[in-house]
């Protein structure tokens, strides 16, 4: 048995369509079988509600008198991209306020507009013969704009990695607060309610398909940026009119230590055309598997700790190394449900019809990392290989002499095999002389917990490490823990100040 899209739309218009949410579908299929479910159900609604950083809106303000070609624009002190003619701008969700920093950003501007609040526009221009005006400041409401079109380049991820932190420091990330030593797990996505989880083959989801976006009706533009459906990480570019939207489904957020994002409620209604579409919508949280990756490694390729199902993630605990680790979701499941239910009511009421893609999304695509023609400098390139060390049995007096002679403030301490066992600084030596004279041995005053780097790590990692531990030098060690150099904050500072000069 198959059903045509026209047949289903006819039933929707007549108010006779049978609509269920993607959460209800697995049990229906278990009970009635695939053929039975196909006969019974016409439309399955999906929904997700989560942080979608890659969001924003095109705004057209209309012309002022005398006219201005706005070159730089700030909306409530958040800069919008203005390199698109005279009075158009794109406000990106993650752009932060020049005055309030990460507490307020583009996402808040969008939420304020949709909530009917007034925003302040400031713009500057160099002035031209056709656009003589150089500055403008005005207050605007959403209704004062000619167009306010949300265009989100990357929304509705098909699946997303869960994250954990195996380092010894709490991390503040776009996946929320990650406690040290695998203290918690953070994940995102609505699991079985997620639109793309119910159409992983992109048979029903593609360009031109209508969707529920931020409380209004929008349309799928096509493949989202960084879309990678061949390995399960497809994304969508979506668009909709801000005037149709509702702040219940569009909420600005600010992540401590990271920045601003926009929570977007998004749902797609899937027509049940054949057995394959039914099968895809029968997916359960137990079937949706993602990886838990370690964000304690500050690199692109992060180690996978284990794989996990959405059922486990949603249970509140996941077992890692024999220990139950608590989970947090960054997206809202109760709101994702609300999206799916709202969309269900719209379809049932006959006010939301379905459509097939006018252009299919390429499911073979896989996103690749950035081509970098200039490798970020490695520690090896900027470290000082002429490092002065001291052995643990030497006296503090010898240490003082070495510190003076070497014109350094840090002495890595090594054992007889040449392995790093500690570090002493000018401060440690001065303190020890004051308290105990110079009779002590190095091993008695050294710090045993040494923060180190390896020669192949990027310099940016070293810069972060110096900052987090509030220290000014890092011994460089090889795989055997032999000291092969030292990295000073001063050298790093010189490098960074040089880097951004033209």
């Amino acid at each position: 048995m198959t059903k045509s899209i026209e047949e289903i739309n006819l039933k929707i218009r007549d108010g006779n369509a049978i609509v269920v949410t993607a959460e209800e579908m697995p049990d229906i299929v278990s009970e009635l079988g695939e053929e039975g479910a196909l006969r019974e159900v016409d439309v399955v609604t999906t929904g997700t509600f989560g942080a979608m950083c890659s969001s924003g809106a095109f705004l057209n303000f209309g012309h002022a008198d005398p006219p201005i070609r706005m070159e730089r624009i700030w909306l409530n002190d958040v800069e919008a991209y203005a390199g698109i003619a005279a009075v158009d701008a794109y406000i990106g969700a993650t752009q932060e306020s020049t005055t309030e920093g990460s507490k307020y950003g583009g996402a808040h501007v969008i939420e304020d507009l949709v909530s009917g609040r007034q925003i302040e526009l400031r713009a500057i221009s160099k002035g031209t013969d056709c656009y003589p005006r150089r500055t403008i400041t005005t207050e605007l409401l959403l209704e004062d704009l000619n167009q306010a079109v949300m265009v989100n380049p990357r929304n509705a991820y098909q699946s997303y990695n869960a994250v954990i932190n195996r380092s010894d420091r709490t991390l503040n990330t776009y996946m929320g607060m990650l406690l040290s030593n695998q203290g918690n797990i953070s994940y995102s996505g609505a699991g079985l309610l997620s639109p793309l989880a119910n159409d992983p083959t992109f048979n029903l989801i593609g360009s031109g398909v209508p969707l529920f976006l931020g409380g209004g009706e929008g349309v799928i533009v096509g493949e989202g940026t960084q879309s990678s459906p061949s390995n399960g990480f497809g994304t969508l570019m979506v668009s909709g009119d801000l005037n149709s939207m509702n702040p219940d489904y569009l909420r600005a957020a600010s992540f401590t230590g990271y920045g601003v994002s926009l929570y977007v409620g998004l749902g797609i209604a899937l027509p049940m055309l054949n057995v394959d579409t039914v099968k895809n919508c029968a997916v359960r949280d137990e079937d949706l598997i993602t990886a838990i990756v370690d964000y304690g490694t500050p690199r692109r390729d992060r180690p996978v700790v284990r794989t996990v199902s959405y059922a486990e993630l949603k249970s509140g605990h996941v077992e890692i190394d024999g220990e139950l680790v608590r989970t947090s979701s960054m997206s809202s499941y109760s709101h994702a449900r609300q999206v799916a239910h709202e969309l269900k009511s719209l379809v049932e009421a006959g006010s939301f019809t379905v459509a097939l893609p006018t252009r299919r999304i390429n499911t073979g695509k896989r996103s690749h990392p950035m081509r970098e023609t200039r490798q970020t400098p490695r520690i090896r390139e900027i470290m000082n290989p002429a490092v002065v060390t001291i052995t643990e049995d030497e006296s503090v007096k010898t240490a003082a002499r070495k510190l003076l002679k070497g014109e350094t403030n840090h002495l890595p301490v090594i054992d007889l095999q040449g392995k790093l066992v500690g570090i002493i600084t000018t401060y440690d030596v001065s303190k020890s002389v004051l308290l105990k004279g110079d009779s002590l041995k190095v091993s008695e005053i050294m710090s045993k917990k040494v923060v180190v780097v390896t020669p192949d790590e990027p310099v940016d990692v070293a810069a972060q490490r110096l900052e987090h531990h509030n220290i000014s030098a890092l011994p460089v060690v090889d795989s055997e823990f032999h000291v092969i150099g030292i990295l000073n904050a001063v050298d790093l500072g010189k490098l960074f100040s040089r880097r951004w000069q033209p």
């Binding site: 503040n172 929320g176 509140g316 947090s328 979701s329 809202s332």
Partner: protein, 128 residues
């Protein structure tokens, strides 16, 4: 039951809590404490049925005693029930019910403030 004790400078140096434990024989759990040069505060947990006895004895000793109630201020309008607060709270104050709605057991709160930073929607604050 949690009690929030404010201790003024004049009695700050005395081992007040130990004294009350010895006198009453009631086990007191010190959950958080902060002492500076002017005053100090201590958050203690005591059995519900012993609360009156402990409170009156501490008051006699010059300690200001306040029952800790409604410690977590939850802005229902801002909250989207994501669950960011669930795993970062050391006391498991936050959980979901069967329908994935947020449940707050504020009697467990020890005022650490971790959830205030972790909430992406700035929907949580701590009343002290």
């Amino acid at each position: 039951m949690k009690l929030f004790l404010t201790i003024q400078r004049d009695v700050l140096k005395r081992p007040l809590i130990s004294q009350v434990v010895l006198e009453t024989g009631v086990m007191i759990n010190v959950e958080r404490a902060h002492i500076d040069s002017n005053e100090g505060w201590v958050l203690i947990d005591v059995p519900e049925n012993e609360e009156a006895r402990i409170s009156s004895r501490l008051t006699e000793l010059g300690v200001q005693v306040k029952k800790l109630e409604n410690a977590v201020v939850h802005d229902e309008h801002e909250c989207v029930e994501c669950g960011a607060c669930l795993s970062i709270c050391p006391q498991e104050v936050f959980s979901f019910d069967q329908e994935f709605h947020l449940v707050i057991k504020e009697e467990r709160c020890i005022l650490c403030g971790q959830c205030v930073c972790a909430c992406p929607h700035q929907a949580l604050s701590i009343r002290q």
